[in-house]
Point group: C2
Chain length 350, copies 2
């Protein structure tokens, strides 16, 4: 097949890890007789530096004309004092909105090789394999009104029925490909937005009688992710809660740098590792490219329908890990690899 | 001294744990020649059952006429389907608002006896001793507008300068009695309310040159609480983030049932254990009363100015623990005590 992929390296370690992921996509293309036309485009701090806009119109246009978007990471403390419209993160938020993606899938699983690297005791974290389905297009991140004066800062946590309905469906569909359990997380004992959330999720559940549903308050979920992470299958939650809970869950896996994500449901899908831009590590050839490479695997599966190629790429990453090799953030027994070496090891394993 | 204490046992295990805390206050009164006039009042589900209102006017009036309020816990799944005004939790929120308390102090520390009971690996959790200062009177919990229809649920995350200023002062003051470090947690890369928060916290910091200040995004903080809990001193954050992060932190201590909290800054201060009402454990004499007893100690210190008595009560609880005795939720080596036995053990140690 022929596919166009918009590539947005972004800031910090973004360019390094994306380079390795692209190398893997090239190899996949060669092996399978596919053509991936990749176009590199600026976003985030890199775009602010290049043209004073964290998401130049040309970047969004090129993304919308592509079959998928692969992003590295955005953000740098250099821009912390900038007003909102001139922050790198705003580029990412406008990209999500511009693509119309609303379903953010964030798997958090513990590779047997890495259970010992988790901050959790091994007997608690072992077997953890959850999928966090985070609403990505609404809630506190996007709802109006929002404003800032010297005296007052205002955001709005609003959800409309259709927004909850579509993300709930995404979660139930994801559960069907897994262990058929959805835990919906809200704060319905306090927030009206959560009461709508819970009502609509229950309604959608009626269409999925084969999937079990339970509900947790967000504070109880923040505890349960630490005390019984292996008990979760799919966690369904809103934009802000999902931001917090998915980061909490990701760090428990002992391999934050390994985790991919997919943002689906819009005109074009977006794929990015869960880790951030880690500016302090940039340019040192120490960043972990596996999260970016596994994001490329998700891209093959979800955007291009190349399930076999996706599985092969995932298997190659796990082969490298299982051989005891990985970047220095992973507690691997045999060989510590640089970013480029780690990418090359995956390509060799393909 | 003579003091009036309003006692709100609430739901689930609330009455059992409060009974033991009151027993301890009685003993303190006897030993020190104080008179504590305690009046029991309904709140939460208990008040809904008794008079159809989760915070009867008579309860709030009696609290406002007291020197301090000691609460057990509120909440029961029986009321889950109730509309907001008729939920037990609404009673607690109205009580906080009615008392005017805005500074919720939630210590999370790891007792050396309990480090082995933490879900975290011992070398990571050892030495953890943080104080979460949660804004309790504003933000998503209280700001207007808020509404619920079949089509839309709306809440508002708004902060005014004075609200941030007073809670920031509470955090810096708390830090002065500790290790002089404040970590302010927000989502300033996305939310305007957080941008006001960060600006005002920085301004207040200028009055506390002896206290170090840093800032974390809430998602990064959710990770750091798990990966480096011992690195925190005071965490300062808003109402919703504080709800989530304090529960996450509390469960890492290996002794959720031991943790007290104080809500200060209003007409009358409120003290309650961090744990919930745990209806499934109610009436079985298995609940851990130490959180309620340590809340009574905070009451002695913060509301009545009885610092020596507070310290004596805390020491008595830790003596019991150090002797290898505790309730079944604690991984104690010597003797598992029932709720009443645990309270009696503390009184004997006084
Ligand atoms: C960079 C930031 C805007 C973003 C978010 O909050 O969504 C990030 O934390 C994430 O989770 O993808
Ligand atoms: C019971 C509930 C309303 C309350 C809250 O969310 O504040 C509780 O979770 C807490 O943290 O004290």
């Amino acid at each position: 097949m022929k596919a166009r992929i918009a590539v947005l390296p972004g800031d910090g370690i973004g360019p390094e890890v994306v380079r390795e992921a692209l190398g893997c996509l090239d190899r996949i293309a060669d092996l399978g007789g596919h053509t991936f036309v990749c176009q590199a485009l600026p976003v985030g701090g890199a775009a602010l530096d290049a043209c004073g806009d964290p998401l130049p119109a040309s970047t969004l246009e090129a993304c919308l004309a592509s079959d998928a978007v692969l992003l590295g990471a955005v953000g740098h403390p250099r821009f912390d004092a900038n007003p909102n419209p001139l922050k790198p993160e705003t580029g990412l938020l406008r990209l999500r909105a511009g693509l119309g993606v609303y379903a953010n899938l964030r798997p958090a699983f513990v590779h047997p090789m890495l259970a010992g690297a988790s901050p959790l005791r091994e007997e608690i974290v072992r077997g953890t394999d959850m999928m966090i389905v985070r609403e990505l297009a609404g809630g506190l991140y996007f709802a109006e009104p929002r404003s800032l004066t010297a005296e007052r800062g205002v955001n709005t946590l609003a959800y409309a029925r259709f927004e909850v309905e579509r993300i709930a469906r995404a979660a139930f569909e994801a559960a069907r490909g897994r262990r058929r359990r959805v835990t919906s997380v809200d704060k319905a004992n306090v927030l009206e937005s959560s009461q709508l959330w819970r009502t609509v999720v229950k309604e959608v559940a009626a269409d999925y009688p084969d999937v079990a549903l339970d509900h947790l308050y967000v504070d109880a979920c923040a505890m349960a992710i630490v005390t019984r992470p292996a008990s979760f299958d799919v966690i369904l939650t809103d934009n802000m809660f999902g931001d917090i809970l998915s980061d909490e869950a990701s760090v428990l896996t002992g391999g934050l740098g390994m985790l991919p994500s997919a943002s689906l449901g819009g005109a074009v899908a977006l794929f990015e590792p869960v880790h951030g831009s880690a500016p302090d590590l940039a340019g040192q050839d120490v960043a972990n490219p596996f999260g970016a490479i596994l994001s490329a695997a998700m891209l093959l599966r979800h955007a291009l329908g190349l399930a076999a190629e996706a599985a092969a790429l995932e298997a190659a990453v796990y082969d490298v890990l299982a051989s005891g090799r990985g970047t220095r953030d992973l507690a691997v027994p045999r060989a510590t690899l640089g970013t480029a070496e780690a990418g090359e090891a995956v390509r060799a394993a393909l």
